[in-house]
């Protein structure tokens, strides 16, 4: 129990400093030099803003009847009314919040759990690695929407069920990436050095392994947010939103699809909102991925 001093380490010729890693903030800043990242960020910011301040701007409540069902735009309703005579614009302004909040929480939970499992698996280098990753394989044997559907079938379409199901299906995909990125790092001298110094395992995972895997994790995270939004909106479209009558972009598309020919705006408006949002997250993800790949290539050439 006699940790080596810095001088001992310097004498032994081992560098205790981690290799130059791509810090998350610098990766983000660099990726903003790409036009696509900026475009994506603008789209996502607009949609998030719409979801946050939308309810304050809405001319009517989300469930207030304002006219005849499926009436075309004009008069009191700027985008017309839906199948129950509610204002499409108001429901559009109210309908993004729950999708966004659930997608962000689910992805964040999946990231935390997945990264922890992936790093632990890579670091353990023993049977725990196999057990953890085979467990992840079992969860990955279900397509994401399938597991969410089974969970909803059993417990019900509560927000926490949907969030948990999506977090649970996000985690193994993150774990794979984290493990893959951490494996080469685990073999490096600075990890062995920390072990020799008696640094606790959780601290090695959190302060030495994690920062070195953030690049690939961020690429994966942006991809996962896109999918989470898609799955949550798809569940609502399948009639499985937490509030079946509430304003929700997915629910709106389902409800108004029958009246598409008469009053297309009830479907087109939420479609545009979802499409712009996922395109935005997709563009940001591609920007980060390109930047990370560019940094890797530059390093390989050194």
């Amino acid at each position: 129990m006699n940790p080596m001093t810095d001088a001992d380490i310097a004498e032994a010729g081992i560098s205790s400093a981690p290799p130059p890693s791509t810090r998350a903030s610098s990766l983000l800043r660099r990726s903003l030099r790409l036009g696509r990242t900026r475009l994506g960020l603008i789209l996502v910011s607009l949609l998030v803003l719409l979801a946050i301040i939308g309810p304050y701007l809405a001319p009517y409540g989300p469930s207030t009847p304002v006219g005849a069902p499926n009436s075309v735009p004009g008069g009191k309703a700027l985008l017309g009314t839906d199948y129950l005579g509610q204002d499409v614009l108001s429901r559009l302004l109210y309908g993004g919040g729950s999708i966004l909040v659930m997608a962000v929480i689910a992805t964040a939970l999946g990231m935390i759990v997945g990264a922890a499992i992936g790093l632990l698996a890579a670091y353990s280098r023993n049977v725990l690695d196999d057990v953890l990753m085979r467990g992840m394989d079992v969860i990955m044997a279900f397509p994401q929407i399938m597991l969410a559907l089974v969970a909803v079938a059993i417990i019900g379409a509560h927000s926490w069920v949907i969030v948990t199901a999506i977090a649970l299906t996000t985690a193994p995909r993150i774990a794979r990436v984290a493990r893959g990125a951490a494996q080469p790092v685990v073999e490096r001298d600075f990890i062995a050095c920390s072990e020799a110094m008696g640094v606790p395992r959780w601290q090695i995972l959190a302060t030495e392994l994690l920062p070195n895997t953030l690049g690939p994790l961020m690429v994966e995270a942006s991809l996962r947010v896109t999918y989470s939004i898609g799955v949550i909106a798809a569940l609502a479209y399948l009639g499985l939103a937490p509030d079946p009558n509430g304003a929700n972009w997915g629910t709106m598309i389902q409800e108004n699809q029958i009246a598409l020919v008469v009053q297309p705006w009830g479907v087109v408006a939420p479609i545009i909102a979802i499409a712009l949002l996922t395109m935005g997250t997709g563009l940001i993800g591609d920007g980060i991925a390109r930047t990370a790949a560019g940094i890797d290539r530059a390093r390989g050439g050194e």
Binding site: V138, P143, I145, M146, L149, A153, I154, I155, A234, L240
Partner: protein
């Protein structure tokens, strides 16, 4: 992978098979645990508060709820292996009888989508690689990026808006297949669901194909083939393409597996009579035997395709075999 050095390809396949089996057994635990996880009495949860004691007892017997958990699991698994998936609670029909025709319909949908999307995306990816940084590459890369980000149901509904209602009213927006009929009896009904699945899958395959092709085109052996004076056509078709396909194989199999989940939403968009809309129906109706059967079926398909992806990649990439 270096663990496998002594065994070679057959041993690798056996290992992956056993692993796939293990995953399936674990999946069956999870799916079975689903019935156990129902809060309170599953029979009451399924039938609701107004159920009579007689119907509750009958359902408990059907679900074998009156026996120990291990027994219940073994009965269920044995039934599964004998093709007996229990009875649908909503339709009062054996699950196999209910799902068999729908399974055929879904398989047709997935197969046609695969047959259309795979060559198409390989062609797009290769062409983009050959015309790198030119206009086709830039346009297709950005278009594919945007399409890849869209959820399938959004793509499906947009196609309905474009081709079945307002803009060009040329195709049916609903593809319901009447009982006894087959999907190929009405081909026009297949167009939009297939197109939706193609749009869902093609971007991934095309992007990998492009990256893989670019790498191959820059390789020494392609340069060698060109220096030998081979016609460009031969260089591309005989030398570049087969080598570029290796990494793409894995992505294709993964995307086919993904289609197994993707059909749930796409079938619902078009009211297509398949296992996907059956699953949505079963979830809405709390029809657990059907949900269990479909979960096992889709998981098995998923595991099988992943296995195929791994084995296929090894077979089409001789380079990897030497590393085993």
């Amino acid at each position: 992978m270096n663990r496998l050095r002594s065994g070679g390809v057959p041993r690798f396949i056996v290992r992956r098979l056993l692993l796939g089996l293990l995953v399936l057994i674990l999946v069956s635990f999870v799916v079975f645990a689903a019935t156990q996880a129902l809060p309170g009495d599953p029979a009451r949860a399924i039938l609701g508060r107004s159920a009579t004691p007689a119907s509750l007892a009958a359902l408990r017997k059907v679900l074998h709820l009156d026996r120990p958990v291990i027994d219940q699991y073994l009965t269920w698994i044995a039934g599964l292996l004998h093709g007996n998936l229990g009875s649908s609670l909503a339709a009062q029909e054996p699950v196999t009888k209910l799902l068999a025709p729908k399974l055929v319909n879904s398989a047709v949908l997935v197969l046609i989508s695969a047959v259309v999307s795979i060559p198409l995306s390989i062609a797009i990816g290769s062409w983009a690689a050959l015309k790198r940084e030119k206009i086709f590459d830039t346009v297709s890369s950005n278009l594919l990026l945007v399409l890849a980000a869209l959820p399938e149901f959004v793509v499906g509904v947009v196609l309905v808006i474009l081709f079945a209602t307002t803009v060009f009213n040329v195709l049916p927006g609903v593809s319901q297949i009447p009982p006894g009929s087959r999907p190929w009896n009405d081909l026009s009904g297949l167009v939009l669901p297939v197109l939706t699945l193609v749009v869902a899958v093609a971007p991934y395959v095309a992007r990998i194909m492009r990256a893989s092709m670019i790498e191959v085109l820059e390789s020494d052996y392609v340069e060698m083939a060109r220096l030998k004076g081979l016609p460009e056509r031969t260089v591309l078709v005989r030398h570049a393409l087969p080598n570029a396909l290796g990494p793409v194989f894995q992505v294709i199999a993964l995307n086919l597996a993904y289609l197994a989940g993707g059909i749930v939403v796409v079938e619902y968009v078009f009211n297509y009579t398949g296992i996907g809309s059956a699953l949505q129906d079963a979830v809405i109706n709390h029809d657990l035997p059907v949900v269990q059967a479909l979960a096992m079926l889709i998981a098995a398909l998923y595991v099988a395709l992943n296995l195929l992806a791994d084995v296929g990649t090894i077979v089409v990439t001789p380079r990897l075999r030497t590393r085993l």
